[in-house]
């Protein structure tokens, strides 16, 4: 059955000259070759219909199902598009109470890892495949033997209540067993701090949508901290001027590396980690005792905080109890608990405990563990003493891993019980207290896998699928708590349909008990040493997505580098130690050593060096053969080498020495010039290009059009005749809202079948992304100011690309779109040259999928482009057509907001708005008439259909300079 389906859809994935390309290559040029090439006659291709057609499936019509994303522990709500029985796109669930319709880059990319054929095909017994029956019996026997030894269940944060319940039931059989949860990038200190202050070990739920003043100490809450999508939605809701032009939150960021959050802050102060404490204490002192501090800014900030009691929020991303306690007391004094910080219904998204972990580590080291089960985690990779830990595992009689890849940990376990992909199995999760979500499978498990619940059930001789277990648990535990739905079935069906259920809980507000913080650590700082800062990239995160080519190729929004991790150092450091970009550095602390290429990063604190975790994952060596091969091509990864280096061994290291090795390593940096200001050496003082228009909130309040420069109507060389239908599609991008999270890039890649090109091509500036996010460094009062500008086809009314195309491959549609007919294109690249925005992409090579199963992710409504043709943003024309046909069938007009391009659909901050510019009432035409609205390069008279809205930051005075 499934086979037939597969046949069916592989049949219909569009491919240009699929079967005759090889011939074309041989025939080279010449008329005969071309004429023959266009023949497809004679060839009979088979069409295999389903024998028995399921009710809801109509070939060629896609259905949407609500589910939950498992890209990280934030568990955002998603809806998944299924076409002919195969899921092909993940998008945000607009109804979802927590993620509010946003999905991050990682979330979008999950659809690709679903079709990853490198996942384990079945259960492993010491490395070789075995049947589940055998495995179960052996494991059960082993468990019999070591009944009363110490048994650990080590797992990453478990969001699923059912799973947790099952695990507990399973562990109950054994006298001294323990469930230990940990997180690779731990926030344990936050929970511990709250235990001290409130007596409950909880992770508070931060309500950024209520915080008018946000102070963040090294917390990258827009990028990778706890629940970025939720926070982004909240954060931007207070910075959306079209809704409320008089309100704008104020955000201060103290950090050592330039994070995504920092680059969006109104005021960013670069400090070394050892200074965080001083900052917190001085703030605390000021608000406690009104005692003025040396640092003027701290005082003014404290004043602001005091003005916004209960409307402010101080967050600290450092996993250090002392700092967290300070933070708590500040928030408490400011009365933020219960207002902007909710511990009554806390977040469940991270739950790890370093304390428990330490105990476990000791026990393992001291060989008094009988059995260990490892789930949702990869300790051998992400422990600071991973390899050592792996060796120690060898002394444990029973080591079971639930990894779905043959990863670092699986290698050291006796048995591996592979778990299916998030979209292949039923699951549930409790994101925050009171919000339960359902994970609905979209496809049968492609490999012989089993969920944790099922495995544990079969070891406790319970014949129950995870679906049953979940349903039963919900019936008994969750449904009972709610009184909304009359019957459980109704409740269950609604929940599965919506993807979540909200259950109000009546936890009492706990009261604050001040606790004296632990003795401050004496921070040694021998000069010549640098504070080491480890961070998560928004794409790879803690390493669990390292095997996903889309995420590997996604440029870091700040450094614009893909396919590598690197040591970010400040320019000053680079000058003093005479280090150039791409020089390989030796980073060492005692016997710990690692070699990484240097990246000179503006905004990096000069006493620190920042390195991204999650690289050097086992299995990334498969990317050797990704990207094209030709005379001068360079492999993405050398044979049996990994993408980047694993920095986790340095997890607990605070200071490192660095030295040059004399080697160099190329970094695939896709943006060569980083400033709006023209190069000084060319005799330009401070000339700035007005393509990114910005203003300060104060200026904005005075004059809404401040900062936007208009050049007025340009004369036309010919008489402009109004053309086209009553529709003119347009897109507006609010630069105030866009935080540069890059979700749109991956969403677009998934929607439009954009191939992965590999490191060498990225390095040669040949990325194929239809939308890119330009990042400019600018100066504001001698401080770094980072600008993000999504750049995609502007669908110009007077498109320069169209006039120059010799074969009419790109012309204008009557709905104001700039169309590209791939099959007509002959590839002169003239249009790309003549595009002032340089958003046209050329298929330099034939980009094969490095994995056959990956082809199933292709969107059947979008042509897979052949070598030698130009492609570019089509404004998701396939979606427009789909809705147009639907509306036509139902004999109605298209309603505003009904069509959403991939980029707009799941933008966590709703920076994109798509619609009909000719419809007076549509949101887009309102926005395009806003005072802030402007077109990029409108002075060259190409009449773009895209509108940008001036970026506003909460500052005294700042407007677009223009030379």
């Amino acid at each position: 059955m499934k086979q037939n389906e597969e046949k069916n859809f592989t049949n219909e994935t569009p491919r240009m000259h699929f079967d005759r390309r090889s011939f074309l290559k041989l025939s080279g040029f010449g008329l005969t070759g071309a004429i023959l090439s266009s023949c497809s006659g004679g060839k009979v291709d088979k069409a295999i219909p389903l024998l028995i057609k399921p009710e809801e499936i109509t070939p060629g019509v896609s259905n949407w199902y609500a589910s939950t994303c498992h890209g990280c522990t934030a568990n955002c709500g998603v809806t998944v598009k299924s076409r002919d029985g195969r899921p092909i796109k993940i998008e945000g669930n607009k109804l979802h109470p927590v993620s509010k319709g946003g999905v991050c880059a990682v979330g979008h990319a999950q659809i690709l890892s679903l079709y990853d054929s490198h996942r384990l095909k079945g259960a492993l017994n010491n490395g070789d495949l075995t049947s589940w029956e055998n495995l179960d019996t052996t494991i059960k026997n082993k468990l019999e033997d070591i009944k009363d030894k110490k048994i650990y269940f080590l797992s990453g944060t478990i969001a699923s209540p059912t799973t947790r319940n099952t695990i507990n039931n399973f562990l109950k059989q054994f006298p001294n067993s323990k469930l230990v949860e940990y997180d690779a990038m731990s926030v344990s200190a936050i929970l511990d701090a709250h235990k001290e202050n409130f007596g409950a070990r909880v992770l508070p739920r931060y309500k950024f949508e209520k915080a008018e003043v946000v102070v963040s100490i090294d917390a990258d809450f827009l990028g990778s901290w706890i629940s970025p999508i939720e926070f982004t939605a909240g954060y931007t809701s207070l910075r959306s001027l079209e809704n409320n032009p008089n309100q704008f939150s104020y955000h201060v960021q103290f950090e050592s590396r330039l994070s995504l959050t920092g680059s969006n802050a109104d005021k960013r102060i670069s400090v070394a980690p050892q200074e965080y404490e001083e900052i917190l204490t001085s703030i605390l002192e000021n608000i406690q005792t009104n005692k003025k501090q040396k640092n003027k800014f701290i005082n003014s900030l404290a004043e602001k905080l005091k003005e916004h009691k209960g409307k402010s929020l101080v967050v600290c991303g450092v996993n250090d109890l002392r700092l967290q306690l300070l933070t708590n007391s500040i928030n408490y004094i400011l009365g933020n608990y219960g207002a902007t910080i909710d511990i009554a219904s806390p977040s469940k998204q991270l739950n790890g405990s370093d304390e428990d972990l330490e105990i476990l580590k000791n026990d393992v080291a001291n060989k008094n563990v009988g059995a260990i089960f490892i789930a949702n985690s990869n300790p051998v990779y992400d422990f600071e003493n991973g390899n050592e830990f792996g060796k120690q595992l060898k002394n444990i009689p029973l080591v079971v891993s639930f990894a779905s890849y043959n990863d670092e940990t699986a290698e050291f376990s006796n048995y591996v019980c592979p778990t299916p992909h998030g979209l292949e199995s039923w699951n549930d999760s409790q994101i925050v207290d009171g919000v339960f979500t359902i994970t609905q499978p979209l496809i049968n498990p492609q490999d012989d896998t089993r969920t944790i619940i099922e495995s544990l059930n079969s070891w406790t001789n319970k014949k129950e699928t995870s679906y049953d277990s979940i349903k039963n648990y919900w019936k008994s535990e969750i449904y009972s708590k709610t009184s909304t739905a009359p019957t459980f079935e109704k409740f269950w069906n609604k929940t599965v349909h919506d993807g979540f259920a909200e259950i109000k809980n009546n936890n009492s507000v706990r009261n604050f008990t001040n606790s004296n913080p632990p003795q401050k650590k004496s921070i040694k700082n021998i000069n010549g040493e640098f504070a080491l800062v480890l961070y998560e990239k928004i794409s790879i995160r803690n390493g669990q997505n390292a095997l996903n080519p889309w995420l590997q190729e996604l440029q870091d929004p700040i450094t614009k580098i893909s396919w590598d991790n690197y040591a970010s150092i400040s320019r000053k450091t680079a000058e003093t130690l005479d280090i150039n970009e791409e020089d390989v550095l030796l980073i060492e602390n005692g016997n710990l050593q690692i070699e990484l290429p240097a990246h000179i990063q503006i905004g990096q604190n000069e006493n620190t060096i920042a390195i991204a975790v999650g690289y050097g994952r086992k299995g990334t060596n498969r990317f050797t053969d990704i990207g094209p091969e030709w005379f001068q091509s360079v492999k993405t990864v050398e044979k049996n080498e990994f993408v980047g280096k694993n920095i986790f061994p340095f997890l607990k290291t605070e200071f490192v020495k660095i030295s040059k090795t004399g080697k160099t390593r190329t970094l695939a940096n896709s943006q060569e010039y980083n400033s709006l200001q023209l190069p000084k050496e060319l005799g330009y003082k401070k000339e700035e290009r007005a393509i990114f228009q910005k203003t300060s909130f104060d200026e904005y309040k005075k004059d809404q059009s401040s900062g936007s420069i208009h050049h007025g109507e340009l004369l036309s060389l010919w008489t402009e005749t109004p053309r086209g239908s009553d529709i003119h599609w347009g897109l507006s991008i609010d630069l105030t809202k866009c935080i540069g999270c890059s979700a749109c890039i991956v969403s677009c890649q998934a929607e439009n079948n954009i191939p992965v090109v590999g490191k060498d091509e990225m390095h040669r500036d040949r990325d194929l992304h239809w939308i890119r996010i330009d990042r400019y460094y600018n100066e504001y009062e001698n401080e770094l100011d980072v600008l993000f500008q999504p750049m995609l086809c502007q669908h110009c009314g007077n498109a320069p690309c169209e006039t120059v195309c010799p074969v009419l491959a790109t012309v204008h549609s009557e709905e104001g779109l700039n169309q590209q007919a791939y099959n007509r294109c002959v590839g002169t690249r003239y249009c790309a040259n003549n595009c002032p925005y340089k958003v046209r992409r050329f298929n330099w090579f034939e980009y094969e999928h490095n994995d056959d199963r990956e082809k199933l992710v292709l969107n059947p409504d979008v042509t897979v482009r052949e070598r030698g043709v130009i492609e570019k943003c089509s404004m998701c024309i396939q979606r427009i057509q789909e809705i147009k046909i639907l509306a036509k069938k139902e004999g109605r007009k298209i309603s505003d907001g009904e069509i959403e391009p991939a980029c707009a659909q799941s933008c966590p901050s709703q920076a994109f708005v798509f619609g009909n510019l000719k419809d007076e009432k549509s949101k887009i035409s309102k926005l395009s008439k806003e005072k802030r609205a402007y077109h990029v390069l409108e002075e060259i008279g190409v009449k773009p259909s895209l509108t940008y809205l001036t970026r506003v930051k909460n500052r005294e005075k700042e407007t677009t300079q223009h030379g």
Partner: protein, 179 residues
């Protein structure tokens, strides 16, 4: 019926020119003159009218121009009016370059073809004297003696003054086989 021709050979263009004009004056029917290169003044000496190739060329050119211009406007404004870069459907100025090129193409190729076709009629005739030499270094004047008063030696004497190399009398069969 056969035709009698007198061929006189010279080794430089001056003598030839004089001889030709002499022949013309004396009512000799000048069949043709053969030269290794285009001798200036010979046309007048032979009294050739300027050819009408110029008109042919002009007409062809105009035809090309009109045809092409119409074709361009028809394809881009009438047959399938497509909005290309917001330009007017009939972007007349943009159609000029191609129109010009086609004009030249038609005129150039057309004229040449016309010339070759029309002239090859003459080349066909095998009225050429010893042709080894006329394409190399010698000049040949071919006259048709007017039968009334004709005497070979007499003619010889009359052309003596032009110090010709030699003078021959040949009989040409009218419409004989191709070469």
């Amino acid at each position: 019926m056969n035709k009698r021709l007198v061929v006189t050979y010279f080794n430089n263009e001056k003598d030839l020119l004089h001889a030709t004009s002499f022949a013309k004056k004396n009512k000799y029917e000048i069949q043709d003159v053969f030269t290794p290169y285009a001798v200036h003044g010979l046309d007048d000496a032979m009294g050739l009218k300027t050819s009408k190739l110029g008109i042919v060329c002009f007409v062809l050119g105009i035809t090309g121009a009109i045809a092409k211009l119409w074709y361009q406007i028809w394809t881009s404004a009438t047959d399938w009016p497509i909005n290309v870069g917001g330009k007017p459907l009939n972007s007349f100025p943009a159609f000029i370059p191609v129109t010009f090129e086609v004009t030249v193409l038609f005129a150039g190729i057309g004229t040449t073809i016309y010339f070759l076709l029309s002239d090859s009629r003459r080349w066909k005739k095998k009225i050429r004297p010893n042709y080894k030499t006329v394409t190399d270094s010698e000049f040949a004047l071919v006259i048709v003696p007017n039968n009334a008063v004709y005497d070979f030696s007499e003619t010889k004497n009359r052309f003596k003054q032009f110090n010709y190399l030699r003078m021959e009398e040949i009989i040409e069969k009218v419409n004989n086989e191709k070469d």
